[in-house]
Point group: C2
Chain length 253, copies 2
Protein backbone atom coordinates (compact mmCIF):
# COMPACT_ATOMS: atom_id res chain seq x y z
CA UNK A 1 0.00 0.00 0.00
CA UNK A 2 1.60 3.18 -1.28
CA UNK A 3 1.06 6.69 0.05
CA UNK A 4 1.25 9.72 -2.22
CA UNK A 5 1.22 13.26 -0.96
CA UNK A 6 2.85 15.21 -3.77
CA UNK A 7 1.09 16.45 -6.90
CA UNK A 8 4.47 16.15 -8.61
CA UNK A 9 4.51 12.37 -8.19
CA UNK A 10 4.89 10.65 -11.59
CA UNK A 11 1.76 8.54 -11.13
CA UNK A 12 -0.29 11.61 -10.18
CA UNK A 13 0.92 13.43 -13.27
CA UNK A 14 -0.10 10.47 -15.41
CA UNK A 15 -3.54 10.13 -13.79
CA UNK A 16 -4.18 13.83 -14.21
CA UNK A 17 -3.71 13.40 -17.95
CA UNK A 18 -6.49 10.81 -18.03
CA UNK A 19 -8.97 13.67 -18.00
CA UNK A 20 -8.17 14.25 -21.68
CA UNK A 21 -8.90 12.02 -24.67
CA UNK A 22 -5.23 12.20 -25.60
CA UNK A 23 -4.05 11.14 -22.16
CA UNK A 24 -6.46 8.21 -22.05
CA UNK A 25 -5.25 7.09 -25.45
CA UNK A 26 -1.59 7.38 -24.45
CA UNK A 27 -1.86 5.47 -21.18
CA UNK A 28 -4.73 3.11 -22.02
CA UNK A 29 -6.45 3.93 -18.77
CA UNK A 30 -9.17 6.22 -17.38
CA UNK A 31 -10.32 7.66 -14.08
CA UNK A 32 -13.55 7.06 -12.18
CA UNK A 33 -14.27 9.46 -9.35
CA UNK A 34 -16.64 9.23 -6.41
CA UNK A 35 -17.73 6.73 -3.80
CA UNK A 36 -20.84 5.42 -5.52
CA UNK A 37 -19.31 5.20 -9.02
CA UNK A 38 -16.27 3.33 -7.68
CA UNK A 39 -18.49 0.88 -5.78
CA UNK A 40 -20.54 0.30 -8.93
CA UNK A 41 -17.38 -0.31 -10.96
CA UNK A 42 -16.14 -2.87 -8.40
CA UNK A 43 -19.56 -4.54 -8.34
CA UNK A 44 -19.45 -4.78 -12.12
CA UNK A 45 -16.03 -6.43 -11.92
CA UNK A 46 -14.28 -4.08 -14.31
CA UNK A 47 -10.52 -4.28 -14.91
CA UNK A 48 -8.55 -1.72 -12.94
CA UNK A 49 -5.02 -0.83 -11.90
CA UNK A 50 -5.46 1.19 -8.72
CA UNK A 51 -7.96 2.38 -6.18
CA UNK A 52 -7.08 5.75 -4.65
CA UNK A 53 -8.56 6.89 -1.35
CA UNK A 54 -7.90 9.71 1.09
CA UNK A 55 -9.58 8.34 4.19
CA UNK A 56 -9.18 4.59 4.76
CA UNK A 57 -11.58 4.62 7.73
CA UNK A 58 -14.35 6.36 5.87
CA UNK A 59 -14.04 4.12 2.83
CA UNK A 60 -13.26 0.89 4.62
CA UNK A 61 -15.84 -1.03 2.53
CA UNK A 62 -13.99 -0.11 -0.66
CA UNK A 63 -10.52 -0.60 0.83
CA UNK A 64 -11.43 -4.12 1.96
CA UNK A 65 -12.13 -5.12 -1.63
CA UNK A 66 -8.68 -4.15 -2.96
CA UNK A 67 -5.42 -6.01 -2.62
CA UNK A 68 -2.57 -4.00 -1.04
CA UNK A 69 -0.56 -3.53 -4.24
CA UNK A 70 -3.43 -1.78 -5.91
CA UNK A 71 -4.42 0.46 -3.01
CA UNK A 72 -2.98 3.96 -2.83
CA UNK A 73 -3.58 6.48 -0.09
CA UNK A 74 -3.70 10.07 -1.31
CA UNK A 75 -3.26 13.29 0.61
CA UNK A 76 -6.21 15.68 0.39
CA UNK A 77 -4.12 18.00 -1.73
CA UNK A 78 -3.48 15.29 -4.35
CA UNK A 79 -7.17 14.29 -4.32
CA UNK A 80 -8.21 17.89 -4.96
CA UNK A 81 -5.67 18.10 -7.75
CA UNK A 82 -7.06 14.99 -9.47
CA UNK A 83 -10.70 15.81 -8.86
CA UNK A 84 -13.09 16.90 -11.54
CA UNK A 85 -15.64 18.15 -8.99
CA UNK A 86 -15.83 21.04 -6.54
CA UNK A 87 -15.99 18.92 -3.40
CA UNK A 88 -14.13 15.69 -3.97
CA UNK A 89 -15.07 12.62 -1.94
CA UNK A 90 -11.44 11.54 -2.24
CA UNK A 91 -12.17 8.18 -3.88
CA UNK A 92 -10.90 7.25 -7.36
CA UNK A 93 -10.38 4.20 -9.52
CA UNK A 94 -7.84 3.95 -12.32
CA UNK A 95 -9.49 1.67 -14.87
CA UNK A 96 -8.00 -0.17 -17.84
CA UNK A 97 -9.34 0.69 -21.28
CA UNK A 98 -10.26 -2.51 -23.04
CA UNK A 99 -9.11 -3.39 -26.55
CA UNK A 100 -12.49 -5.07 -26.85
CA UNK A 101 -14.19 -1.69 -27.22
CA UNK A 102 -13.42 -1.73 -30.93
CA UNK A 103 -14.02 -5.43 -31.51
CA UNK A 104 -17.60 -5.87 -32.59
CA UNK A 105 -19.76 -8.85 -31.70
CA UNK A 106 -19.65 -11.47 -34.48
CA UNK A 107 -23.41 -11.35 -34.63
CA UNK A 108 -25.36 -8.32 -33.50
CA UNK A 109 -28.56 -9.28 -31.66
CA UNK A 110 -31.18 -7.21 -29.90
CA UNK A 111 -31.62 -3.47 -30.12
CA UNK A 112 -28.69 -1.12 -30.49
CA UNK A 113 -28.56 2.64 -30.15
CA UNK A 114 -25.96 4.10 -32.50
CA UNK A 115 -24.49 7.55 -31.85
CA UNK A 116 -23.20 9.51 -34.84
CA UNK A 117 -21.11 12.55 -33.86
CA UNK A 118 -23.09 13.28 -30.68
CA UNK A 119 -21.19 15.91 -28.68
CA UNK A 120 -22.79 16.77 -25.36
CA UNK A 121 -21.68 14.48 -22.50
CA UNK A 122 -24.97 15.02 -20.65
CA UNK A 123 -27.00 14.05 -23.72
CA UNK A 124 -24.85 10.96 -24.27
CA UNK A 125 -25.16 9.85 -20.65
CA UNK A 126 -28.93 10.37 -20.66
CA UNK A 127 -29.28 8.38 -23.89
CA UNK A 128 -27.27 5.48 -22.49
CA UNK A 129 -29.50 5.46 -19.38
CA UNK A 130 -32.61 5.59 -21.56
CA UNK A 131 -31.33 2.75 -23.77
CA UNK A 132 -30.82 0.72 -20.59
CA UNK A 133 -34.37 1.47 -19.40
CA UNK A 134 -35.82 0.66 -22.82
CA UNK A 135 -34.22 -2.79 -22.75
CA UNK A 136 -31.57 -2.13 -25.39
CA UNK A 137 -28.62 -4.49 -25.72
CA UNK A 138 -25.96 -1.90 -26.33
CA UNK A 139 -24.81 1.46 -27.58
CA UNK A 140 -22.30 2.01 -30.39
CA UNK A 141 -20.24 5.20 -30.17
CA UNK A 142 -19.53 6.17 -33.75
CA UNK A 143 -17.04 8.48 -35.37
CA UNK A 144 -16.88 11.93 -33.82
CA UNK A 145 -18.89 10.96 -30.75
CA UNK A 146 -17.09 11.69 -27.49
CA UNK A 147 -15.49 8.56 -26.01
CA UNK A 148 -17.23 6.86 -23.10
CA UNK A 149 -14.27 7.19 -20.72
CA UNK A 150 -14.80 10.95 -20.68
CA UNK A 151 -15.35 11.77 -16.96
CA UNK A 152 -18.54 13.75 -17.62
CA UNK A 153 -20.05 10.94 -19.69
CA UNK A 154 -19.04 8.34 -17.10
CA UNK A 155 -20.79 10.41 -14.45
CA UNK A 156 -23.96 10.97 -16.41
CA UNK A 157 -24.36 7.29 -17.40
CA UNK A 158 -25.00 6.61 -13.69
CA UNK A 159 -24.02 2.95 -13.88
CA UNK A 160 -25.97 2.07 -17.03
CA UNK A 161 -22.60 1.47 -18.72
CA UNK A 162 -22.39 -1.78 -16.74
CA UNK A 163 -25.85 -2.98 -17.81
CA UNK A 164 -25.30 -2.53 -21.54
CA UNK A 165 -22.59 -3.37 -24.04
CA UNK A 166 -20.74 -0.22 -25.12
CA UNK A 167 -18.75 -0.38 -28.35
CA UNK A 168 -16.88 1.97 -30.65
CA UNK A 169 -17.06 1.63 -34.43
CA UNK A 170 -16.64 3.23 -37.81
CA UNK A 171 -20.32 3.59 -38.71
CA UNK A 172 -19.78 3.77 -42.46
CA UNK A 173 -18.49 0.22 -42.24
CA UNK A 174 -20.75 -1.02 -39.44
CA UNK A 175 -24.17 -0.06 -40.87
CA UNK A 176 -23.85 -2.00 -44.17
CA UNK A 177 -22.58 -5.04 -42.23
CA UNK A 178 -25.59 -4.97 -39.92
CA UNK A 179 -28.04 -4.61 -42.79
CA UNK A 180 -26.29 -7.41 -44.75
CA UNK A 181 -26.82 -9.59 -41.70
CA UNK A 182 -30.55 -8.94 -41.75
CA UNK A 183 -30.81 -6.29 -39.02
CA UNK A 184 -32.88 -3.23 -39.95
CA UNK A 185 -31.08 0.02 -39.16
CA UNK A 186 -33.14 3.19 -38.81
CA UNK A 187 -31.72 6.66 -39.06
CA UNK A 188 -33.36 9.72 -37.55
CA UNK A 189 -33.73 12.84 -39.65
CA UNK A 190 -35.36 16.21 -39.14
CA UNK A 191 -37.02 16.00 -42.52
CA UNK A 192 -40.54 15.39 -43.71
CA UNK A 193 -39.10 13.26 -46.53
CA UNK A 194 -38.34 10.68 -43.87
CA UNK A 195 -40.86 8.17 -42.51
CA UNK A 196 -43.02 9.14 -39.52
CA UNK A 197 -41.65 7.04 -36.65
CA UNK A 198 -45.05 5.69 -35.58
CA UNK A 199 -45.57 4.17 -39.04
CA UNK A 200 -42.71 1.71 -38.48
CA UNK A 201 -43.22 -1.62 -36.73
CA UNK A 202 -40.68 -2.32 -34.02
CA UNK A 203 -38.70 -5.54 -34.18
CA UNK A 204 -36.65 -7.49 -31.68
CA UNK A 205 -33.36 -6.80 -33.51
CA UNK A 206 -32.68 -3.32 -34.81
CA UNK A 207 -30.27 -0.42 -34.94
CA UNK A 208 -31.32 3.16 -34.30
CA UNK A 209 -28.97 6.00 -35.27
CA UNK A 210 -29.17 9.44 -33.67
CA UNK A 211 -27.02 12.27 -34.93
CA UNK A 212 -25.26 15.45 -33.96
CA UNK A 213 -27.16 18.02 -31.84
CA UNK A 214 -26.91 20.75 -34.45
CA UNK A 215 -26.51 19.01 -37.78
CA UNK A 216 -28.25 15.68 -37.28
CA UNK A 217 -27.02 12.45 -38.79
CA UNK A 218 -24.40 12.64 -41.54
CA UNK A 219 -25.86 12.44 -45.09
CA UNK A 220 -23.48 9.56 -45.96
CA UNK A 221 -24.99 7.48 -43.17
CA UNK A 222 -28.55 8.50 -44.05
CA UNK A 223 -27.97 6.94 -47.47
CA UNK A 224 -27.01 3.61 -45.94
CA UNK A 225 -29.96 2.98 -43.60
CA UNK A 226 -32.98 0.70 -44.03
CA UNK A 227 -35.18 3.78 -43.52
CA UNK A 228 -34.90 7.19 -41.94
CA UNK A 229 -37.46 8.20 -39.32
CA UNK A 230 -38.71 11.56 -38.14
CA UNK A 231 -40.85 12.65 -35.23
CA UNK A 232 -43.65 14.90 -36.50
CA UNK A 233 -43.37 18.26 -34.73
CA UNK A 234 -46.85 19.57 -34.04
CA UNK A 235 -46.16 22.91 -32.41
CA UNK A 236 -43.79 25.68 -33.40
CA UNK A 237 -40.72 24.27 -31.69
CA UNK A 238 -37.81 24.12 -34.10
CA UNK A 239 -36.59 20.76 -32.95
CA UNK A 240 -36.53 18.29 -30.11
CA UNK A 241 -33.56 17.84 -27.83
CA UNK A 242 -31.60 14.87 -29.22
CA UNK A 243 -31.95 12.84 -26.00
CA UNK A 244 -35.73 13.39 -25.96
CA UNK A 245 -36.00 12.36 -29.62
CA UNK A 246 -33.92 9.24 -28.93
CA UNK A 247 -36.15 8.44 -25.92
CA UNK A 248 -39.37 8.77 -27.90
CA UNK A 249 -37.95 6.59 -30.71
CA UNK A 250 -36.51 3.91 -28.41
CA UNK A 251 -39.75 3.51 -26.47
CA UNK A 252 -41.80 3.47 -29.66
CA UNK A 253 -39.83 0.98 -31.78
Amino acid sequence: MEQISSVKNTKVKEWNKLKTTRGRKKFGSYLIEGRHPVREALDAGIEYQYILVVDVEEDVDIVKRVDDERLIILSEEVAKHLSDTINTQGVFLVGTISDEDWSLPTSFKGKWLILDDVQDPGNIGTMVRTADAAGYTGVVFGNGTADFYNPKILRSMQGSQYHLILKRANLLRLIPTLIDNGMPVYGSLLSKDATAYDKVEGSSDLGLIVGNEGNGMSPELANLTTANLYIPIKGKAESLNVAIAAGVLMFSL
Copy 2:
Protein backbone atom coordinates in the same frame (compact mmCIF):
# COMPACT_ATOMS: atom_id res chain seq x y z
CA MET B 1 -32.42 57.57 -24.56
CA GLU B 2 -30.50 57.20 -21.35
CA GLN B 3 -26.86 56.15 -20.98
CA ILE B 4 -25.69 54.23 -17.94
CA SER B 5 -22.05 53.57 -17.21
CA SER B 6 -21.99 52.95 -13.47
CA VAL B 7 -22.81 49.67 -11.78
CA LYS B 8 -23.95 51.76 -8.81
CA ASN B 9 -26.80 53.29 -10.79
CA THR B 10 -30.14 52.65 -9.04
CA LYS B 11 -31.69 51.01 -12.09
CA VAL B 12 -28.70 48.69 -12.52
CA LYS B 13 -28.92 47.67 -8.88
CA GLU B 14 -32.61 46.86 -9.35
CA TRP B 15 -32.05 44.88 -12.56
CA ASN B 16 -29.29 42.90 -10.96
CA LYS B 17 -31.76 41.74 -8.32
CA LEU B 18 -34.01 40.32 -11.05
CA LYS B 19 -31.71 37.29 -11.18
CA THR B 20 -33.32 36.09 -7.94
CA THR B 21 -36.89 34.90 -7.34
CA ARG B 22 -37.15 37.43 -4.51
CA GLY B 23 -36.01 40.32 -6.68
CA ARG B 24 -38.44 39.42 -9.45
CA LYS B 25 -41.27 39.26 -6.93
CA LYS B 26 -40.34 42.61 -5.42
CA PHE B 27 -40.05 44.53 -8.67
CA GLY B 28 -42.56 42.61 -10.82
CA SER B 29 -40.07 42.39 -13.65
CA TYR B 30 -37.48 40.02 -15.09
CA LEU B 31 -34.46 40.06 -17.35
CA ILE B 32 -33.96 38.48 -20.78
CA GLU B 33 -30.38 38.35 -22.03
CA GLY B 34 -28.96 37.81 -25.49
CA ARG B 35 -29.56 38.99 -29.03
CA HIS B 36 -31.69 36.09 -30.24
CA PRO B 37 -33.83 35.82 -27.06
CA VAL B 38 -34.51 39.58 -27.11
CA ARG B 39 -35.51 39.45 -30.79
CA GLU B 40 -37.84 36.55 -30.07
CA ALA B 41 -39.41 38.43 -27.15
CA LEU B 42 -40.01 41.49 -29.35
CA ASP B 43 -41.45 39.30 -32.11
CA ALA B 44 -43.81 37.75 -29.57
CA GLY B 45 -44.94 41.21 -28.51
CA ILE B 46 -44.33 40.75 -24.80
CA GLU B 47 -44.73 43.63 -22.34
CA TYR B 48 -41.46 45.27 -21.39
CA GLN B 49 -40.03 48.32 -19.68
CA TYR B 50 -36.58 48.73 -21.21
CA ILE B 51 -34.22 47.42 -23.82
CA LEU B 52 -30.56 47.67 -22.82
CA VAL B 53 -27.78 47.56 -25.41
CA VAL B 54 -24.06 48.24 -25.43
CA ASP B 55 -23.47 48.75 -29.12
CA VAL B 56 -26.21 50.63 -30.99
CA GLU B 57 -24.57 50.00 -34.38
CA GLU B 58 -24.29 46.27 -33.89
CA ASP B 59 -27.85 45.93 -32.65
CA VAL B 60 -29.46 48.48 -34.91
CA ASP B 61 -32.28 46.08 -35.83
CA ILE B 62 -33.30 45.83 -32.16
CA VAL B 63 -32.74 49.52 -31.42
CA LYS B 64 -35.03 50.51 -34.32
CA ARG B 65 -37.91 48.66 -32.73
CA VAL B 66 -37.78 50.53 -29.39
CA ASP B 67 -39.01 54.03 -28.61
CA ASP B 68 -36.39 56.36 -27.15
CA GLU B 69 -37.76 56.40 -23.59
CA ARG B 70 -37.37 52.66 -23.32
CA LEU B 71 -33.89 52.41 -24.84
CA ILE B 72 -30.88 52.48 -22.55
CA ILE B 73 -27.24 52.38 -23.63
CA LEU B 74 -25.02 50.47 -21.23
CA SER B 75 -21.26 50.60 -20.82
CA GLU B 76 -19.50 47.26 -21.27
CA GLU B 77 -18.75 47.19 -17.57
CA VAL B 78 -22.43 47.46 -16.66
CA ALA B 79 -23.36 44.79 -19.24
CA LYS B 80 -20.79 42.41 -17.75
CA HIS B 81 -22.14 43.14 -14.28
CA LEU B 82 -25.71 42.30 -15.32
CA SER B 83 -24.81 39.30 -17.44
CA ASP B 84 -25.51 35.74 -16.46
CA THR B 85 -23.09 34.38 -19.09
CA ILE B 86 -19.33 34.35 -19.57
CA ASN B 87 -19.28 36.38 -22.77
CA THR B 88 -22.21 38.76 -22.79
CA GLN B 89 -23.59 39.97 -26.11
CA GLY B 90 -24.56 43.18 -24.34
CA VAL B 91 -28.26 42.99 -25.15
CA PHE B 92 -30.98 42.78 -22.48
CA LEU B 93 -34.69 43.28 -22.09
CA VAL B 94 -36.43 44.17 -18.83
CA GLY B 95 -39.81 42.45 -19.08
CA THR B 96 -42.95 42.96 -17.04
CA ILE B 97 -44.24 40.01 -15.05
CA SER B 98 -47.89 39.54 -15.84
CA ASP B 99 -50.57 39.21 -13.16
CA GLU B 100 -52.23 36.86 -15.63
CA ASP B 101 -49.72 34.12 -14.79
CA TRP B 102 -51.82 33.06 -11.86
CA SER B 103 -55.23 33.59 -13.49
CA LEU B 104 -56.28 30.32 -15.01
CA PRO B 105 -58.29 30.00 -18.21
CA THR B 106 -62.03 29.74 -17.47
CA SER B 107 -62.11 26.53 -19.46
CA PHE B 108 -59.02 24.38 -19.97
CA LYS B 109 -58.88 22.94 -23.47
CA GLY B 110 -56.25 20.88 -25.24
CA LYS B 111 -53.31 19.12 -23.63
CA TRP B 112 -51.51 20.54 -20.63
CA LEU B 113 -48.23 19.50 -19.07
CA ILE B 114 -48.31 20.07 -15.31
CA LEU B 115 -45.06 20.37 -13.34
CA ASP B 116 -45.11 19.39 -9.67
CA ASP B 117 -42.02 20.51 -7.77
CA VAL B 118 -39.63 20.09 -10.72
CA GLN B 119 -36.30 21.65 -9.82
CA ASP B 120 -33.73 21.57 -12.60
CA PRO B 121 -33.94 24.56 -14.97
CA GLY B 122 -32.54 22.53 -17.87
CA ASN B 123 -35.15 19.79 -17.36
CA ILE B 124 -37.93 22.36 -17.16
CA GLY B 125 -36.81 24.14 -20.33
CA THR B 126 -36.47 20.86 -22.24
CA MET B 127 -39.95 19.78 -21.13
CA VAL B 128 -41.49 23.07 -22.26
CA ARG B 129 -39.79 22.68 -25.67
CA THR B 130 -41.01 19.08 -25.90
CA ALA B 131 -44.57 20.11 -24.96
CA ASP B 132 -44.40 22.67 -27.76
CA ALA B 133 -43.20 20.04 -30.26
CA ALA B 134 -45.86 17.57 -29.11
CA GLY B 135 -48.61 20.11 -29.82
CA TYR B 136 -49.50 20.83 -26.20
CA THR B 137 -51.57 23.93 -25.38
CA GLY B 138 -49.72 24.93 -22.26
CA VAL B 139 -47.63 24.15 -19.22
CA VAL B 140 -48.71 24.72 -15.61
CA PHE B 141 -45.90 25.43 -13.14
CA GLY B 142 -47.13 24.05 -9.84
CA ASN B 143 -46.10 24.57 -6.26
CA GLY B 144 -42.38 24.22 -5.66
CA THR B 145 -41.47 24.30 -9.35
CA ALA B 146 -38.96 27.01 -10.21
CA ASP B 147 -40.64 30.08 -11.72
CA PHE B 148 -40.44 30.58 -15.46
CA TYR B 149 -38.73 33.95 -15.26
CA ASN B 150 -35.64 32.24 -13.88
CA PRO B 151 -32.85 33.21 -16.36
CA LYS B 152 -31.70 29.60 -16.85
CA ILE B 153 -35.22 28.40 -17.57
CA LEU B 154 -35.85 31.31 -19.95
CA ARG B 155 -32.68 30.36 -21.81
CA SER B 156 -33.42 26.67 -22.03
CA MET B 157 -37.01 27.14 -23.25
CA GLN B 158 -35.47 28.56 -26.46
CA GLY B 159 -38.56 30.54 -27.44
CA SER B 160 -41.13 27.80 -26.81
CA GLN B 161 -42.49 30.01 -24.01
CA TYR B 162 -44.03 32.19 -26.72
CA HIS B 163 -45.72 29.28 -28.49
CA LEU B 164 -47.47 27.87 -25.43
CA ILE B 165 -49.52 29.26 -22.56
CA LEU B 166 -47.49 29.19 -19.33
CA LYS B 167 -49.41 29.41 -16.06
CA ARG B 168 -48.74 29.07 -12.35
CA ALA B 169 -51.18 27.33 -10.03
CA ASN B 170 -51.80 25.58 -6.76
CA LEU B 171 -52.11 22.03 -8.08
CA LEU B 172 -54.08 20.69 -5.13
CA ARG B 173 -56.82 23.07 -6.17
CA LEU B 174 -56.32 22.92 -9.92
CA ILE B 175 -56.44 19.14 -10.47
CA PRO B 176 -59.91 18.57 -8.91
CA THR B 177 -61.25 21.54 -10.90
CA LEU B 178 -59.95 20.10 -14.17
CA ILE B 179 -61.39 16.67 -13.44
CA ASP B 180 -64.75 18.18 -12.36
CA ASN B 181 -64.80 19.89 -15.75
CA GLY B 182 -64.41 16.59 -17.54
CA MET B 183 -60.68 16.69 -18.36
CA PRO B 184 -58.75 13.51 -17.51
CA VAL B 185 -55.59 14.23 -15.55
CA TYR B 186 -52.83 11.62 -15.51
CA GLY B 187 -50.09 11.47 -12.96
CA SER B 188 -46.76 9.76 -13.52
CA LEU B 189 -45.43 7.41 -10.87
CA LEU B 190 -42.40 5.16 -10.60
CA SER B 191 -44.55 2.30 -9.36
CA LYS B 192 -45.83 -0.91 -10.86
CA ASP B 193 -49.13 -0.27 -9.06
CA ALA B 194 -49.70 2.45 -11.61
CA THR B 195 -51.07 1.87 -15.12
CA ALA B 196 -48.63 1.14 -17.96
CA TYR B 197 -48.67 4.28 -20.10
CA ASP B 198 -49.27 2.43 -23.37
CA LYS B 199 -52.50 0.96 -22.00
CA VAL B 200 -54.12 4.41 -21.87
CA GLU B 201 -55.87 5.94 -24.87
CA GLY B 202 -54.84 9.51 -25.59
CA SER B 203 -57.53 12.18 -25.82
CA SER B 204 -57.63 15.66 -27.26
CA ASP B 205 -58.02 17.29 -23.82
CA LEU B 206 -55.89 16.06 -20.95
CA GLY B 207 -53.52 16.98 -18.17
CA LEU B 208 -50.23 15.16 -17.56
CA ILE B 209 -48.40 15.67 -14.27
CA VAL B 210 -44.67 15.06 -13.91
CA GLY B 211 -43.00 15.28 -10.54
CA ASN B 212 -39.80 16.05 -8.72
CA GLU B 213 -36.53 14.60 -10.08
CA GLY B 214 -35.75 12.68 -6.90
CA ASN B 215 -39.09 12.07 -5.21
CA GLY B 216 -41.58 12.01 -8.07
CA MET B 217 -45.06 13.43 -7.81
CA SER B 218 -46.41 14.27 -4.36
CA PRO B 219 -48.63 11.54 -2.86
CA GLU B 220 -51.42 14.08 -2.22
CA LEU B 221 -51.58 14.83 -5.94
CA ALA B 222 -51.35 11.15 -6.90
CA ASN B 223 -54.57 10.62 -4.94
CA LEU B 224 -56.40 13.24 -6.96
CA THR B 225 -55.65 12.12 -10.52
CA THR B 226 -57.86 10.22 -12.99
CA ALA B 227 -55.11 7.59 -13.19
CA ASN B 228 -51.38 7.35 -12.56
CA LEU B 229 -49.13 6.11 -15.34
CA TYR B 230 -45.73 4.47 -15.32
CA ILE B 231 -43.24 3.65 -18.04
CA PRO B 232 -42.18 0.02 -17.74
CA ILE B 233 -38.40 -0.11 -17.25
CA LYS B 234 -37.02 -3.10 -19.10
CA GLY B 235 -33.33 -2.92 -18.30
CA LYS B 236 -31.56 -2.39 -15.00
CA ALA B 237 -31.67 1.41 -15.06
CA GLU B 238 -33.08 2.72 -11.82
CA SER B 239 -35.16 5.41 -13.46
CA LEU B 240 -35.56 7.60 -16.49
CA ASN B 241 -34.55 11.22 -16.55
CA VAL B 242 -37.73 13.23 -15.84
CA ALA B 243 -37.57 15.10 -19.17
CA ILE B 244 -37.20 11.83 -21.12
CA ALA B 245 -40.13 10.29 -19.23
CA ALA B 246 -42.23 13.39 -19.95
CA GLY B 247 -41.24 13.20 -23.64
CA VAL B 248 -42.18 9.53 -23.97
CA LEU B 249 -45.54 10.18 -22.24
CA MET B 250 -46.39 13.33 -24.21
CA PHE B 251 -45.71 11.70 -27.57
CA SER B 252 -47.61 8.58 -26.57
CA LEU B 253 -50.81 10.09 -25.13
